[in-house]
């Protein structure tokens, strides 16, 4: 299992559209992906779960990935955060 923490750096946080970008990437991997924010967590392949996390701009989210392609999934998701969900 790999885990890492990232800050939500796009202008308005993990809203529906940004969650959609996350899901599009997460769905390409067979590993299980979980996203934690505060006391909540969501399946990283669920757009509604992610949108319910209330991760506003600047929030830190922890991501746990477990499965055969966990390293590749981590790399791809980190890149998404670094690109600020392609918004800026």
């Amino acid at each position: 299992m790999v885990e890492f923490t990232k800050q939500v750096g796009n202008k308005i946080g993990l809203h529906l559209r940004a969650a959609g970008e996350f899901v599009k990437i997460a769905a390409q991997f067979s590993s299980d992906i979980r996203v934690y924010h505060g006391e909540r967590f969501a399946n990283g392949k669920s757009i509604l779960g992610l949108a319910s996390l209330a991760a506003a701009r600047g929030a830190n989210v922890r991501i746990e990935i477990e499965g055969p392609d966990e390293a590749a999934a981590r790399k791809a998701l980190e890149a998404l955060f670094d690109a600020k969900f392609y918004e800026d």
């Binding site: 308005i12 809203h15 529906l16 959609g20 969501a42 509604l48 779960g49 949108a51 506003a56 701009r57």
Partner: protein, 615 residues
């Protein structure tokens, strides 16, 4: 229309004989006339039957299904998801074609919701384990999701529940077996009344059946407003709780000019509006004959008539109404309508569209006047106790230089495509204009280094809208190349009156003697330095104020596109000399009442001239 109302009453009686016996008189009385004020989103007046979009009242049947039916019910659910996805993809490509890829992008998120594992798995589990019917199971699961998103404190994140609601309604209709396109469609030309209209709603409407739009939510840049303007239909938005006050079939008047609606108008009110519509139609006709004529007084003094706009789609209307330029392009609405801070490229595209659309006519672009009543969610500003006196306009831009510079870069780049002027809002002290000019110089230098083309000369000007700017007008006139008087804020700050507060709204008047003095000071200061003065507040379009502004000798009137013909008509019916004399007379008056009476008398004496205004 009256027949409709009667029919409905009759039906109600037939169904409820007891109620009829109990309260015969009140049931037969006509409904009371109600007037509601909102935001004018698209001009024009319409009287017609209301069609209330009944989308929140989908009745979801609940039943326990037989164990043998479970497999079939799960399949039915999956088929509903697949059918909804097909419908959404069709809408998406239609929107992309008609309005551009940007508008279509939100449907990607809608499609992902349909595939959401949590949603699909939990609904399937509820069907299998609890033997709920698919519609009831799905509704419960998605309502939980909506409730948890709605509980989020962040205003922006919360706002997006409308997308989930949109998907919920579609799937439910698919499951219940009603065709979305007929359920939501009026069968006679009607005024569409809705809580809010999303992109997918308007895409499916039969335009021949819609006379006007009115919605509870929304502002001038909301989807409904943009659609209404592009279709040339009247619209009033931001009416709060209108949906619950109107029933389908009620007669409704939509006054897109004043931003108000009247439900169940009395025959007298209808008559009054029919006259108003007649006048509006005549004005529109006059406009066609007037477009070719200059805004010139009988004794030959010319004025520039420009338009105030919020969006690129209004340019066509400006030209149709004979606008000679854009006197005020309010850029903040573009910022507010976005989900995130628009990039330099985003802004450049919009500014360029307006500048090119005006084909070389001058366009005054006002830099971001965010704050006050218009706060964009993504800026995450904390609420202010007194926002109109707070961190807004140039004050905001000078602290958020990153945002300011990005906007200036976009404006300067657009200036290569036509005639652009830049105007700064909410200026109250000299240092602000000094700093703003400095930043403009830096931006120009950067762009030159990066080899961008910019306009040869881009004049810088200020909004004169604080009393302190008036008091220092002679000094500001040395710093800038034009003034534009924003009368709305100037009156608010001078009279210390919040025009939205009905208890004191009477203080908010264009023709306050104090306001006339401030206008005069401003015009005199500008004249000494030979810089032009425009008036871009609502006063410039106010019938009684026009002769005064003519007499003051301002250079330009900037008003809503649809008001241009009216202003032109008044200018063409008076002489500059008599307006100057009028101004001298009213300058001695101490009350608004006296001033208005004097102007009324002048306009009345010219009433006979109106007929030949276009000749």
């Amino acid at each position: 229309m009256a027949r409709n109302k009667l029919d409905k009453t009759n039906r109600a009686h037939a169904a409820e004989p007891v109620a009829r016996a109990a309260a015969p008189a009140s049931k037969l009385e006509t409904k009371a006339e109600i007037e509601r004020r909102g935001v004018s989103a698209s001009p024009g007046i319409v009287i017609g039957p209301a069609f209330v979009r009944d989308d929140d009242r989908v009745h979801v049947p609940r039943k326990l299904i037989d164990a043998s039916q479970v497999g079939a019910e799960v399949e039915r659910f999956q088929k509903a998801l697949a059918d909804t996805a097909r419908e959404l993809r069709a809408i998406k490509s239609d929107i992309a074609k008609r309005m551009g890829e940007d508008h279509a992008r939100i449907f990607d998120a809608h499609l992902l919701i349909l595939e959401d594992r949590m949603l699909v798995d939990e609904t399937t589990a509820a069907i299998q384990n609890e033997r709920q019917n698919a519609a009831a199971a799905f509704e419960r699961v998605i309502n939980n999701v909506i409730a948890s998103i709605a509980g989020i404190e962040d205003e922006y994140l919360k706002e997006r529940t409308i997308d989930v609601q949109d998907v919920k309604k579609r799937v439910l209709r698919m499951l219940i077996g009603k065709d979305t396109r007929t359920v939501n469609r009026p069968s006679e030309p009607s005024v569409l009344v809705a809580h809010d209209l999303g992109p997918s709603d308007t895409a499916q409407l039969d335009r021949r059946m819609v006379l006007a739009y009115v919605t509870d939510l929304g502002g001038r840049m909301s989807h409904t407003s943009i659609i209404a303007r592009s279709q040339g239909l009247p619209a009033v938005v931001g009416l709060e709780n209108l949906v619950n006050r109107v029933e389908t079939g009620d007669t409704i008047i939509v006054d897109g000019n004043a931003g108000s609606v009247i439900i169940n108008p009395t025959p007298e009110t209808i008559q009054q509006y029919e006259n108003e519509m007649q006048r509006f139609a005549e004005l529109e006709e006059q406009l066609l004959t007037l477009t070719g004529y200059p805004a010139q007084t009988l004794d030959g003094r010319s004025f520039t008539l420009s338009a105030n706009v919020d969006a690129a789609d209004e340019v066509e209307s400006v030209l149709d109404h004979g606008g000679q330029g854009v006197g005020l392009f309010r850029t903040e609405y573009f910022f507010i309508s976005q989900d995130y801070l628009p990039s330099e490229e985003d802004q450049y595209k919009v500014y360029r569209q307006v500048v090119e659309g005006m084909g070389g006519r001058p366009v005054v672009i006002r830099t971001l006047d965010i704050g006050g009543d218009k706060i964009a969610g993504y800026l995450h500003r904390s609420p202010e106790l007194n926002p109109f006196m707070g961190w807004r306009g140039i004050r905001f831009c000078l602290t958020r230089k990153d945002i300011f510079k990005t906007q200036l870069r976009a404006i300067y780049r657009a200036s290569a495509h036509g005639s652009v002027k830049i105007m700064f809002p909410m200026i109250s002290q000299i240092e602000e204009i000094e700093q703003a000019k400095q930043i403009c110089a830096e931006v120009r230098e950067d762009l030159a280094k990066e080899r961008y083309k910019i306009g040869d000369h881009v004049p810088l000007g200020i909004m004169v809208e604080t009393p302190s700017a008036v008091a220092m007008a002679d000094q500001f006139a040395r710093e800038v190349e034009f003034f534009s008087i924003g009368t709305n804020d100037l009156i608010q700050y001078t009279m210390a009156v919040d025009r939205g507060n009905s208890k004191i709204a009477h203080l908010y008047q264009h023709l306050q003697p104090s306001i006339l003095r401030l206008l005069r000071l401003t015009v005199e200061a500008a004249r000494k330095r030979k810089i032009p003065v425009s008036v871009c507040g609502e006063m410039a379009g106010d019938r009684l104020s026009v002769p005064i502004l003519v007499g003051l000798g301002i250079d330009e009137f900037s008003v809503s596109p649809n008001v241009i013909p009216e202003v032109k008509r008044i200018i063409r019916s008076v002489t500059y000399d008599e307006c100057r004399a009028l101004l001298r007379r009213v300058s001695r008056f101490r009350t608004t009442q006296e001033i208005e009476t004097e102007i009324e008398a002048l306009l009345k004496s010219h009433a006979a001239n109106n007929g030949r205004a276009g000749a």
